[in-house]
C-alpha cells in the first residue's frame, strides 16, 4: 500500500501549486507517519474550514489502512 501516492493524488488536485507538494513517509513498526508539506498559500486548501478537508483525507487514508492493521498518521507541516 502506497500512502504517499494516495495522499499526493488527493492533495495535488486541491492545491494551486501541485509541483510543490512534498510527502515524506516514515515507516514504524506499528504506525506509519506521513508528513505533508505544501506552500504557505496552499495550507488552507489542504486543511479546510475547521479542518474539514484534513479530516476527510485522514478518514480516506484510514479506510485504506484498515487491511494492514497499521495506524497511519497524517501530519501537515507548516
Amino acid at each position: 500500500m502506497n500512502y504517499s501516492e494516495l495522499v499526493g493524488y488527493m492533495v495535488k488536485s486541491l492545491v494551486d501549486h501541485p509541483e510543490q507538494v512534498e510527502i515524506r513517509e516514515i515507516e514504524g513498526e506499528k504506525s506509519t507517519i506521513l508528513e505533508l508539506k505544501v506552500t504557505k498559500e496552499d495550507i488552507g486548501k489542504v486543511i479546510g474550514k475547521h479542518g474539514r478537508i484534513a479530516r476527510a483525507v485522514r478518514t480516506i487514508i484510514n479506510a485504506s489502512a484498515t487491511k494492514s492493521g497499521k495506524r497511519v498518521v497524517l501530519e501537515i507541516l507548516d
Binding site: 502506497n2 478537508i53 476527510a56 478518514t59 480516506i60 484510514n62 479506510a63
Partner: protein, 214 residues
Amino acid sequence: MKVIEVEGRTPDDATKRAMAELGIRDTSKVTVEIIDPGKSGIFGFGVSRPAKVRIYYNESTENVGAKVKELLLALLSRMDIEGGVKDLKESESKVYVELESKTSSGLLIGKKGKTLEALQFMINLMINNSTGSEKKIILDIESYRDKREKALKKMSRDIAFKVIKTGRPMILEPMNPFERRLIHLTLQNDKRVTTKSEGQGIYRKIKISPAVRK
C-alpha cells in the same frame, strides 16, 4: 460557452492570466485565439504593445459524469480497495453515483458512513477544482443512504417513545446536518416531544425533550 479577452506581456502570459481568472488549470479545455501577439519595446525604447488573446471555454460540452467516474476509479485503486461504479445518473445540478464493491463495501461506508461521507466530500472538492463544475456529487453504495435514513427514522421514534415514557430528555449522538434535519422532520408532527440541536460544528447533536404540558 464562455469567451473572455485578456491582455498580457506575451500571448503565453495572457493565456495564463485568463486561466487563473476562469479558475481552471487544464489547458486542453480551452481554445486560445491570439488576437494580437504584442510587441515588446527593445530595452524600454520603441513602442511596446501588450499581447491580447481571446479564450473560448466550453463548460457545457464537459462531461462531468465521466470525469467523476474517472476520478473515483483512480482514487479507489490508490486506496487499494476493490470497487467500481455501478450506476451514474447526471442531472442539471447533481451527479448521483452508485458504487459497488464485492469485498469491501463495508470499508467504503465506514463507521456510521464516515468514509462514504469523506469520499463524497473529497470527490466534490476535486471535481469542483478541476472542472469548475458546481454540480453536487452524491455517492451511494448498496443503497446505504436509504437504509441509514430508515434506521435513523426508526431510532428517533424509539427514543421519542422512551422520552415520553420516562419524561426525561435524551441526547442523541452527534450527526451531520442532513441527518439532524431528517430527525427533526420525523418528529415534528409528534406533539408529545420537541427536538432541538445543541453544540457546535461536528459535535452538534439533537436533544429530544418531552413537550411541556399546558
